[in-house]
Point group: C2
Chain length 227, copies 2
Amino acid sequence: MAGAVCLTSGGQDSTTCLFWAKQRFDPILALAFDYGQRHRIELEAAQVVCDLAGIPLTVLPLMILRDLGGSALIGSSDTIQASGGRDGLPNTFVPGRNLLFLTVAAAFAYQREIHDLIIGACETDYSGYPDCREQTMCALETTLHLGMDYAVQIHTPLMHLTKAQTVFLAQDVGAMAALKYSHTCYEGCFPPCGMCPACQLRARGFTEAGVVDPLLQRAAAWRAERV
Amino acid sequence: MAGAVCLTSGGQDSTTCLFWAKQRFDPILALAFDYGQRHRIELEAAQVVCDLAGIPLTVLPLMILRDLGGSALIGSSDTIQASGGRDGLPNTFVPGRNLLFLTVAAAFAYQREIHDLIIGACETDYSGYPDCREQTMCALETTLHLGMDYAVQIHTPLMHLTKAQTVFLAQDVGAMAALKYSHTCYEGCFPPCGMCPACQLRARGFTEAGVVDPLLQRAAAWRAERV
């Protein structure tokens, strides 16, 4: 099998992708970015998930995202809102963030003679994220190929899945045990707040799938210990 | 006139582009990247050139280029060679470097509601740089538009010019006085070494144009003072 670079954030989608990738590529190199996330818990979750998957994780600093500003997900005191940015985009939107992540990932892959990149982008998320669209990924693939003179394939196993279907995929590829340690909450807490848009979207997917979220089981156990 | 973001390196080509841009856009924001260049003289040259042009310069840190490795232009003790990289590419090649620069520039422009980007990319350089090709630039324009849901135009005034024609353009747009302070030499010296591929390419352009390079005039004056 050929190798692949899998973008990893410690979240539900990229965790599912890591295990999807394990069935198809070898070796897999996980790549996460340190861009001054307000919540360090994200990078910690990425590390635990990769350890469970037996996949080495490289964390590259990408502080330029902070300098580009305009996003509430990057350390600041702005309140997170589901919407409120320009043209109704959520103010968590960093313009072209996935383009930047994938361009760096492609250069990282080039240096290692790897041609396959995996990202948990999903058009279900497209409410606010044009850099998650399939059309964007296809255009980027062409651009990277031309710009590096090196063929790159971007795999997006979640692109057309509903959140419930992503839960089923996680079961199929054996990602459930690792999802226990994945991180989703915008508030950056464990146990997760359960109220923010990210927590609610995750909960909706598990509810629709009729599956208990292992992260919430872990949270319940954590609470029970402390009563 | 609408505004534009002009990528700036302190070199001959981007200096010429800055003055080309001055005739067409207002305001112009110059953008340079600090990626741990071995020679700090490049960023100093960018600042002097921008001061002479009356254009504000923003320097954004982009240290990830150093982490991506593999380039002799980034601080290291490797000898610079005209060739020697994979597939005969010069080992000064950072895969997709211009893609990264322009993707960041596009996000920077987005935040300021600017739609025009200017870069001194040139197919004459294409011997080793696929990320300088017109085809790459067109594909990237499409990708940025899709990925940010925001139209961006990438202007490449030097794309089809020979090095001699670039010298004539510099005369036409009034860039000659600023070229006196531009920096080209791979060795990072002033006066320039005159021997490295970059110095020789620059010299060939001025010779073919039958024009004296103002940088060499400045170097001659500097030497005369020290005799």
